[in-house]
Symmetry: C2
């Protein structure tokens, strides 16, 4: 067993629940970083675990890696991120989750009315309506997870 406070990929993988290949991929995408031993093996500082926790949490909320990347980029690089930094980043997730929940609820309520009538009319049914799942209040629906986003004709 090594005695330093640096972690190998295997250790980080186990502690974070992510596959080593995912860790390499994240590094390649600039989301995390590691130093190298003289023999070119990765050694991670413990704080990478927090970063990975953030990444997982963000992915759970439905962000793409690109968005995660952008969020991480707003962290200060001259000092260690504080609680406040992480809090700031995760605060916007709440809105996103609220939007997602609202969208699902709308879908469900539309479905409830559809179950009564069995219509699934292209024109009238909220559930199968091609364009307008999120309704008309402005520019919503941007934060729906992929499978809940209605493919607007012409783009998937």
């Amino acid at each position: 067993m090594r005695s330093t406070d640096l972690l190998t990929v295997g250790e980080v993988a186990e502690r974070s629940g992510m596959a080593p290949s995912a860790l390499r991929y994240y590094e390649q995408e600039g989301l995390i970083s590691a130093t190298r031993t003289t023999g070119n093996q990765r050694r991670y500082q413990r704080h990478v675990l927090r970063r990975l926790a953030f990444i997982r949490a963000a992915r759970n909320v439905g962000l793409t890696l690109e968005e995660v990347s952008a969020a991480l980029a707003t962290l200060p690089d001259n000092r260690n991120p504080t609680k406040a930094d992480w809090t700031r980043l995760s605060r916007t997730w709440r809105d996103r989750l609220d939007e997602q929940i609202a969208a699902l609820r709308k879908l469900r309520d539309g479905l409830d009315s559809c179950i009564g009538c069995g219509c699934l009319s292209l024109q009238r049914c909220a559930v199968s309506n091609p364009a307008d799942i999120m309704g008309s209040q402005g520019s919503g629906a941007r934060y729906l997870p992929r499978p809940l986003r209605v493919s607007s004709p012409g783009r998937r």
Copy 2:
């Protein structure tokens, strides 16, 4: 303008809001069907629109095409599907949506407690917890849309 009650791909595409390429793909996957003209062009019966509405609705709820396909296969082929048939199929969506909503709510509530503490601890934080988003009641979380499913270590 043609006078029959059969629809061309273009017409079906416009009325359903789906791309012609998607319609061909669905046909290839056995989700819809069409007759052909002597010149080999597709002609759709009007009821394909209802089927497409179903497909879109199901996709909105997060089903894969394979699941949609399985659902459609339970429709009777000796008679036209009735309202009751469509209703039966869509009834299971409700449960799925309820599950999705519950999962998101759980995520949000976990987030609310995290915003206060800024922790994102791998061990304690519900939002970034690798294994256990849906909690312990049995085998839940099967119907979470892809981006909300936590990748269990070893599989994506």
